[in-house]
């Protein structure tokens, strides 16, 4: 009994220490956003010594035309996540449950995509999208983002489907269900935890994507939120408080989404646990 108690204490201690290390930079950013520009790197205090400058946020919000860019980011990220979850649950299921020629080949192709060097991609991608008239569209951002997450998604979904006892597959098929119905009615609902994992993992990659939208988009009306933050950087002199405020504003939706998805995650987990 005593042993269990101190183990819990140690657990809490370690978690608290690590949490502090995780949180500190973010706290610093928050503090910096309320300081004056040259106060940011002047002193060592986490938070402003004098008055807190709330006006920065109002100013940045105005300059950033937040709503328009926010909607664009949501649009791109939402369809990207839909695409990833749809395409790769289907592919993962095929890899996990079905036998067909070329399965190993395609599986390794999808995995190998993970190692493709990012730097080499932009120019040929631009040329491709130019031919397909996808330049300066949101679809031109969604498609590469979906394709880029194939490796992890295919691997994870295949694994997850494999871990579900095969008896379920057999009994459902014996009952006369076709492959498609088996997938969509039975396996997908069971895969909610995996889908939540993939969603969380890819949410950020898509939301914070910077170079891809910059190169493919010309029309500022279509820009996503991270681009808006970059455009705040006037280059002549960097106003750190403005940059930090802008960065934080673009993070808030992500944090909210995280909290939201955590709820789903737990819900999905309890649904999945029933299986045993």
């Amino acid at each position: 009994m005593k042993r269990g108690y101190s183990a819990k204490m140690i657990s809490y201690a370690i978690l608290l220490l690590w949490s502090a290390i995780c949180v500190y930079p973010l706290l610093w950013m928050i503090g910096a956003s309320f300081k004056e520009p040259f106060e940011v790197f002047a002193g060592y205090a986490l938070f402003p010594t004098g008055a807190w400058n709330w006006h920065t946020y109002v100013d940045v919000w105005d300059r950033m035309h937040f709503f328009r860019y926010f909607v664009n980011s949501v649009n791109v990220t939402f369809w990207t996540l839909v695409g990833i979850n749809l395409f790769y649950t289907m592919a993962g299921f095929a890899f996990a449950k079905l036998r067909f020629p070329g399965s190993a080949f395609w599986f390794y192709i999808f995995l190998a995509m993970m190692f493709v060097p990012g730097i080499t991609i932009m120019i040929p991608l631009y040329l491709t999208e130019n031919e397909l008239h996808l330049l300066n569209t949101h679809l031109g951002l969604i498609l590469p983002l979906v394709n880029g997450s194939a490796p992890l998604a295919v691997f994870l979904f295949r694994n997850y489907f494999r871990s579900i006892p095969h008896e379920i597959y057999e009994s459902v098929r014996l009952d006369g269900a076709g492959i498609f119905r088996t997938l969509f009615r039975i396996y997908i609902p069971l895969a909610l935890p995996a889908m939540a994992t993939i969603t969380i993992t890819n949410f950020l990659g898509s939301w914070n994507s910077l170079v891809l939208p910059m190169v493919m988009l010309n029309d500022a009306k279509l820009f996503t939120l991270p681009l808006a933050v970059l455009l705040l950087d006037s280059g002549v002199f960097r106003q750190w408080n403005v940059l930090m405020a802008g960065a934080l504003i673009s993070i808030v939706p992500v944090v909210l989404a995280f909290l939201f998805f955590q709820k789903y995650y737990i819900q999905g987990l309890s649904a999945g646990a029933i299986k045993s």
Binding site: S19, P25, Y44, L152, N159, S163, F258, S276
Partner: protein, 309 residues
């Protein structure tokens, strides 16, 4: 009902269904992925300078590869091999630190009763923050009069203080960068382990408790083996991330001081965009060489991990 011979009707129907299911993924790959990959592999065999038309690129054969692999371009080759050494140090450190720490923290989270949701949100924060801003914060922490040095002085460990800043000394710069990389990678790996931990039947733990197993024994004999597949993908992703790492280094040190934190992605970036005399074909060649290297290392890791059942 498993299908019979290879050409049986059932088998063909199964294969057709499989390809139908994979169609969107494969189509997307062919349209977006394939041309891009072939194009840039092709470009590795050409010379392409700044402000040139790709159509006018001059054929180079293996010249680009010979430049940085065999030392035909002495300075580039020196940079490349030194960068590669740095990358390997980072790889080993990252895998050795990220995997155990992520697993430990994920397991600890399972064991506590209160504050799970709060901790989980806090621990995922490094991932959430926009990368560029965060790296500036870390630069501040590492400054001569930054948080780290002040902490060390506060606890009395004066000899550990870096007078020129942790990013400004030759032997502390790489460890400092590695710390930031590890810090940033742990949340992503933790998410994978969260998912994996849920698939382990709690009955296993309960029967182990009845048998009187300790925390360490449960970790080693139940958790670790059952999380094998997750660990495999986590290792591969960490390796891949460590080999391709760019942002923290470019923002915090630009490869300095004196090349002590230079990694291959920085060498490639400078060749492609910074160096006015840079050759885009050569940059691509370096990139694809790293692809081959990462592929091989990952295969080796996968084999090693699978054997260690």
């Amino acid at each position: 009902m498993k299908s019979g011979s290879f050409y049986s009707k059932a088998a063909r129907r199964e294969a057709a269904s499989a390809y139908l299911l994979m169609a969107p993924a494969i189509l997307l790959f062919l349209v977006i992925g394939l041309f891009t990959v072939l194009f840039s592999i092709g470009l590795s065999f050409f010379h392409m300078g700044h402000g040139s038309l790709i159509a006018n690129a001059k054929f180079a054969g293996l010249d680009n590869f010979k430049d940085f692999l065999l030392g035909d371009d002495q300075l580039l080759s020196e940079s490349f091999w030194r960068a590669l050494r740095n990358n390997l140090v980072i790889c080993v450190s990252v895998v050795a630190l990220v995997i155990p720490v992520s697993l430990l923290i994920s397991v600890l989270l399972q064991n506590i009763a209160r504050g799970v949701r709060l901790f989980r949100t806090l621990l995922l924060l490094p991932m959430v923050s926009s990368s560029v801003a965060i790296y500036y914060v870390w630069t501040g922490i590492y400054e001569p009069s930054g948080l780290l040095n002040r902490l060390l002085q506060a606890i009395g460990w004066k000899s550990a203080v870096a007078a020129n800043g942790w990013l400004g000394e030759l032997h502390t710069s790489l460890p400092a960068i590695i710390a930031v990389i590890v810090w940033g990678m742990i949340p992503g790996t933790m998410i994978l382990y969260f998912a994996g931990l849920q698939t382990i039947d709690s009955h296993l733990y309960e029967s182990a408790d009845i048998d009187g197993a300790s925390f360490g024994q449960k970790l080693l004999h139940i958790t670790w083996p059952m999380l094998k597949p997750i660990t495999v993908i986590a290792v591969i992703m960490s390796l891949n991330g460590a080999i391709q790492i760019f942002d923290p280094i470019w923002i915090m040190t630009k490869g300095g001081p004196a090349g002590s934190t230079e990694v291959v992605s920085v060498v490639i970036y400078q060749e492609a965009f910074v160096n006015m005399k840079g050759d885009l074909g050569r940059a691509n060649a370096m990139g694809w060489t790293m692809f081959a290297l990462t592929f091989v290392i990952s295969l080796i890791s996968m084999r090693t991990l699978k054997e260690k059942t």
